[in-house]
């Protein structure tokens, strides 16, 4: 079994409306050293696979096909082996 932790954010250069709102709010609260805030999505996907590269291949395919919109988003992931 593998656990994939997938992180999705807007691409660099794509204005992030939630990120800029959070940044502004934090600034108002006195956190004045914030350079940038990006708000994204986090997913945990459990896969019943034996090989890590197969699991990775599938995660990539899911991200490219469904989980992200490549026009505005980018992703990264960590894949961990877990016991049932």
């Amino acid at each position: 079994m593998f656990l994939a932790k997938v992180y999705i954010t807007y691409k660099k250069g794509v204005l992030d409306p939630q990120g800029s709102t959070v940044k502004k709010a934090l600034g108002t609260m006195g956190f004045d050293t914030i350079e940038d805030v990006r708000v994204g999505k986090y997913m945990e996907i459990m896969l019943e696979e034996k090989e890590k590269d197969v699991a990775e291949q599938k995660i990539k395919e899911m991200c490219d096909k469904v989980l992200t919109n490549p026009v505005i988003e980018e992703y990264s992931y960590d894949i961990l082996e877990v016991r049932k």
């Binding site: 204005l15 409306p17 939630q18 469904v66 919109n69 026009v71 505005i72």
Partner: protein, 233 residues
Amino acid sequence: MKFGVVMFPGSNCDVDCFHVIKEVLKEEVEYIWHKEPLRESKRYDCIILPGGFSYGDYLRPGAIARFSNVMEGIIDFAEKGGLVLGICNGFQVLLEAGLLPGAMKRNKNLRFICDNVFVRVENNTIPFTLKCKKGQVLEIPIAHGDGNYHIDKKTLKEMKENNQIVFRYCDEKGEVSEATNPNGSIDNIAGICNRRGNVLGMMPHPERCSEEILGSADGKLIFDSIMKYLKGE
């Protein structure tokens, strides 16, 4: 003429679209359930993807609906030149399906906006706007949380060259500015078409303003344009 209105789980403007086609245009119309493949034998002249919140907008608006059984047939229908109109969530589905370029982001102010807005007709040469004048200002309601259209600069330039920008948010006189942009959409874009002009996506809801009793009948121009085109007038 025969229209099809697609129903996804969570569509909520399907009945309004159906009503306008049947009662206002007095044309033939059927619902198309999203789980069924689109049958060519039905011979639709125009397919409408209505507004709403297909699959609760989970993941991204339109992202799950895009993989419904019916979509393969709709992509094929569009590629053969069939008329496809996506309104609001329908527009988002068309973007996710790749039938139109770009993507939708959350509104700039993060609010769900339900309001009457003005849009300027930038392209009146496609089947959906034939009866409008170029530069004509239409008053049409919007109701969305994710209408902040995004496209990279290079593609935007190509779209402008190909006359793919169909509607832009403006004031009642037709002036387009930052102040008349409700959602942060790039270049005030409210509606776009594909290169061929047979697929239109728009955030405003023409089906909500196709009868004077509703305050504006400007939306009827879109449906009348479709009829004019289909009848070859």
